[in-house]
Every structure is written in structure tokens, then in C-alpha cells.
């Protein structure tokens, strides 16, 4: 490692390879060392003849040394960047270009050019981008002087529905990670009297009240909003008076979730004819420049867009983007599907749709799929029977 650095450094500084001939080579070496003329890779070739490497500045100083020791010094090779530069010294435009390149690279790298938002499920990316822009983080802004910590605090307050946010500026990219807050049901404080009501329709399977009075019986059908465990306990002896408690307990009920999907026997397939048109455009600093744009000759087509961003590694994104929009000509072909396949497909879709309705914590105990025919149209119907806790606390007198 040390030698590698040494070699790189020497290459950058430039050095010469010389041949020293004479009877007092040792003297030559000693005088060079004493005069702090650095020599390296001194290699003996034969008696009274060595090759050595030395710096350019050292080479300017060795003439008197050579004369004093009676050695003959010949230059064998010049190596290193200074000699390379020397070769190109007259080419001013080349240097100007090289310098301009580095300046531009640095200037472009000091702006924000892309924003990557991840972790948002319900919040829209565009909304988060707006809030970020309101806090001064948007493409085209200088990345220096952005206080990410302060922005994080402000974003937390402004959005409100997030539990965690992190903003990192990496290269020209801003990485925003968000964790959304779960909607927590309103919890009625323990000391406030409440009822337990039904969250949704169902048939009560099991009811256990730890506090309060069971208002429904097992096997009873309940509607959404119906009181299941009452917090109003009648006082013995008087009919008008009630004692209010904080009702608690579990109410397990059977619930149903269903979805319908019509069975389709025909399928339109769009087949590419093989003909296509490609439009090229360039996006510079969010300004779109159409380079090649041709007339659309197709009556029916699909479009595909590919974007290529100019990046160095993953994080250094530059504001240049190459967009290719390809239009493929298509022809629609009606294909009929076999009945069993069509039924299966519809059933699967219906099942998936129904499954999405099932809330978390519900246990599916039965899955049924029916096919119903109505006016000559066949529909697949998936019914999922679940068991879940449908109890929800609500203040007495409240909503």
C-alpha cells in the first residue's frame, strides 16, 4: 500500500530514469542523499553502471554532482503527469474543456435533482412532495443550507399522520422515508362510563362481559351500532335510576364478507402488429425538449415509456433525462374462453375481492363460492364467513 501510494505520488509529480556511469557511483549516490536529492530504484546493471529514478527537480541539481564525481549521467526516460501535460500545453481548448467539465460537475452536483419517497401507503407521493417543496426541498434547489433535522420536525407537524420520517440528502438525491401512523380507535378512558356496541352486522357467537350487562344473547343477530354490553345498570328497587359503568368484554360474532364478479366468456386480446413509432425527447432541468416527434399513423396502439436518467452511481442524479415513447400498433382480437376457465377466473377474482374486505384479526371459518345466473348472465359470488370481535367502546350518550 505504501509503495502504491508512493508510485502514484511519483507519477503525479513526474520523474526521470537516468543511467549513471563512472567509477565513483557510490560517491554519486552518497552526495545525492546528502543534498536531499531523492533517488529510488537504484539498480546496478553491470560494474560502474546503474539506472536510477529521480524527481524532475532533483534532475536539475545533479549536474554539479556528476561533475564532482566524474560520472556520466544520461537521461533514459521521462515519466509522469507533468510530461503529459507538457505535451498538451499548447492545446488551450482541451484544458479549458477539462476545467469546465469539473466545474460543471461540481455545480450540478450541488443541487437537488431527484426526490425519492418511500414507505407511504395511504399518503400520496404528490402530497408529500408538495409539503417538501413548501419546506424548501424540491428539484433545482441548492442542497447546501438545507436543515434536514428542522425539516423533519416541521414535516411531522404539518403532515400529522406520520409516525416517523427521515430525510437524507445523498449526492443529488433526497431520500425520504416515511412510516405512517396507524389509525388508532378512540379509546374511552377507563373512568368514563361507556357501552360496547357492534362495529358491524353479525350473529353473536360468544359474549363475555367483564363489566356491564349483556344486552344481547348468543345466537342473536345484531346490527351495526347496536349496544352489545350495556354500561347502564339498573339499581335494584327503583326503576328509574341507573348506575353507569365502563362496560367491557369480548363479543365474538360470525360475520360475512362477500364479493361478486361476472363471468366473462370472451376476452379481447391486443396483439402487436410489429409496427411501431419511437419518439425521443430530452428533459433538461424539468424542461422537455422534443427531439424526434412523428405523426401518429395508428388507429389503435399502446404506448410504452422508458426513461433514462443520467446518473453516476445510484445517488448522483443529474437533471438530464432521455425519454423514449414507443407506440406499438395493435389489433384487437376477440378470443373465447372455455367455460371452466372463465368460471375459475371469475371465482378467483371474487375470492380475492372478498378477502380484501376481511379486517385484521378476523378468523375465516368458511369459504363458499357460488355461481348465480340472472338474465342469462353468470356471476361468481364468494362468501367468507368469519369469527371476529365486533365490540367497540362508545360513551354513553355519545356517537
Amino acid at each position: 500500500m505504501k509503495f502504491l501510494l508512493f508510485r502514484l505520488w511519483n507519477y503525479a509529480r513526474g520523474y526521470v530514469i537516468i543511467i549513471v556511469e563512472g567509477f565513483f557511483i557510490e560517491k554519486f549516490i552518497n552526495i545525492c542523499a546528502r543534498r536531499r536529492i531523492l533517488l529510488w530504484n537504484v539498480r546496478i546493471q553491470k560494474e560502474h553502471r546503474v539506472t536510477a529514478r529521480m524527481s524532475i527537480s532533483g534532475f536539475r541539481l545533479i549536474r554539479p554532482v556528476a561533475r564532482k564525481t566524474g560520472c556520466r549521467v544520461r537521461l533514459l526516460k521521462k515519466t509522469g503527469l507533468p510530461f503529459v501535460f507538457n505535451k498538451y500545453r499548447r492545446r488551450k481548448a482541451f484544458f479549458a474543456g477539462a476545467v469546465l467539465f469539473f466545474i460543471l460537475l461540481n455545480v450540478l452536483a450541488s443541487f437537488i435533482w431527484s426526490i425519492e419517497i418511500s414507505g407511504n401507503e395511504r399518503l400520496e407521493t404528490a402530497f408529500i412532495e408538495d409539503v417538501l417543496a413548501g419546506n424548501g426541498i424540491k428539484p433545482g434547489r441548492l442542497k447546501y443550507g438545507i436543515d434536514t433535522r428542522a425539516t423533519v420536525d416541521r414535516m411531522m407537524l404539518e403532515i400529522g399522520r406520520i409516525s416517523w420520517i427521515s430525510i437524507n440528502i445523498r449526492g443529488t438525491k433526497v431520500k425520504v422515508q416515511i412510516r405512517e401512523r396507524e389509525d388508532i380507535p378512540e379509546i374511552v378512558p377507563r373512568h368514563i362510563p361507556c357501552d360496547v356496541i357492534a362495529q358491524r352486522d353479525g350473529i353473536v357467537k360468544q359474549i363475555i362481559a367483564t363489566e356491564g350487562i349483556e344486552a344481547v344473547a348468543e345466537g342473536q343477530t345484531v346490527k351495526k351500532g347496536q349496544v352489545l354490553i350495556s354500561g347502564r345498570i339498573p339499581v335494584k328497587g327503583s326503576e328509574e335510576q341507573y348506575r353507569h359503568v365502563h362496560a367491557m368484554g369480548t363479543v365474538k360474532a360470525r360475520t360475512w364478507y362477500e364479493a361478486e364478479v361476472p363471468v366473462v366468456f370472451t376476452e379481447t386480446e391486443r396483439l402487436r402488429t410489429g409496427r411501431m413509432i419511437k419518439d425521443h425527447s430530452l428533459i433538461l432541468f424539468s424542461k422537455k425538449l422534443d427531439l424526434i416527434r412523428r405523426k401518429n399513423r395508428f388507429s389503435e396502439y399502446t404506448t410504452e415509456e422508458t426513461r433514462k436518467k443520467l446518473t453516476i452511481s445510484e445517488d448522483l442524479v443529474f437533471p438530464f433525462e432521455w425519454v423514449v415513447v414507443t407506440r406499438y400498433e395493435v389489433t384487437s382480437v376477440q378470443a373465447s374462453i372455455r367455460e371452466t376457465d372463465a368460471r375459475e377466473k371469475a371465482a378467483e377474482e371474487a375470492y380475492k375481492e372478498a378477502l380484501e374486505l376481511v379486517p385484521e384479526g378476523a378468523e375465516i371459518i368458511e369459504e363458499n363460492i357460488y355461481f348465480a345466473e340472472e338474465d342469462g348472465k353468470l356471476t361468481a359470488r364468494a362468501i367468507l364467513e368469519c369469527v371476529e370481535d365486533i365490540g367497540l367502546s362508545r360513551r354513553i350518550g355519545g356517537n
Partner: protein
């Protein structure tokens, strides 16, 4: 640490030696030994480092006396160090240090003072 009998017992008593042929310790040497100070710094002694048989570093050398095909003689504060080997190359040479690489066969102190 006492350097009695430097190998050659028949050597004539010269400078720094007593009649028995052993090296007489100088005041400076005794002083540095008493205080446990590094000898290479205070007594102008060389520090020789060999890494395997390929790289050798001599710190605190005085001068290169001879450099020929297959051997090299370096003057140091402890006499002349004679190194023999194949393809001996002076990797680096500066005011105080010399780095030699190649295949070292022997390192010898001659005329130890």
C-alpha cells in the same frame, strides 16, 4: 547487552578496546543503558530491519561505500555492513535511511567499532 568478544578475539587492541580485546563501553553507552534510552538515536547506531530475505532497511546509515553486482557495503555507526545477494536494488535512499530489496544472502558486520 554487554558486547564482549565480538567474534574476532585475535584483533589487536585498538581504539575503544581494552587489552583483553573486548570493547570498552563509553560513558555515553553506559548512560543510555542506565536510562534505557533507545541506542539507535543517542549512540548513532544503525537500525537494521529485514523483512524475510527480500527487503532490508537500514536506518541511521552513514554512507554507501560500495555497490557492485551481488554485494553492497554500507558504512554505519557500528562499522561496515556488508550485504550479499541477488538483484540488490536500492529502493529508496535518503539522508538517514536506505531501503534495499532483492534476495539477501548474508548480512555481515565487518570492522565493528
Amino acid at each position: 547487552m554487554a558486547k564482549s568478544n565480538p567474534g574476532n578475539t585475535n584483533a589487536k587492541p585498538g581504539k575503544g578496546r581494552n587489552r583483553k580485546g573486548t570493547i570498552k563501553k563509553s560513558f555515553r553507552e553506559k548512560f543510555t543503558e542506565l536510562l534505557e534510552l533507545p541506542k539507535d538515536l543517542l549512540l548513532d547506531r544503525p537500525k537494521l530491519t529485514l523483512i524475510g530475505c527480500r527487503d532490508m532497511m537500514i536506518e541511521n546509515y552513514k554512507s554507501v561505500l560500495e555497490y557492485g553486482v551481488g554485494y553492497m557495503r554500507v558504512k554505519t555507526g557500528s562499522g561496515i555492513v556488508r550485504i550479499t545477494g541477488n538483484n540488490l536494488v536500492i529502493r529508496e535512499i535518503s539522508h538517514d535511511d536506505i531501503i534495499i530489496s532483492g534476495t539477501v544472502h548474508s548480512v555481515e558486520f565487518t570492522d565493528a567499532g
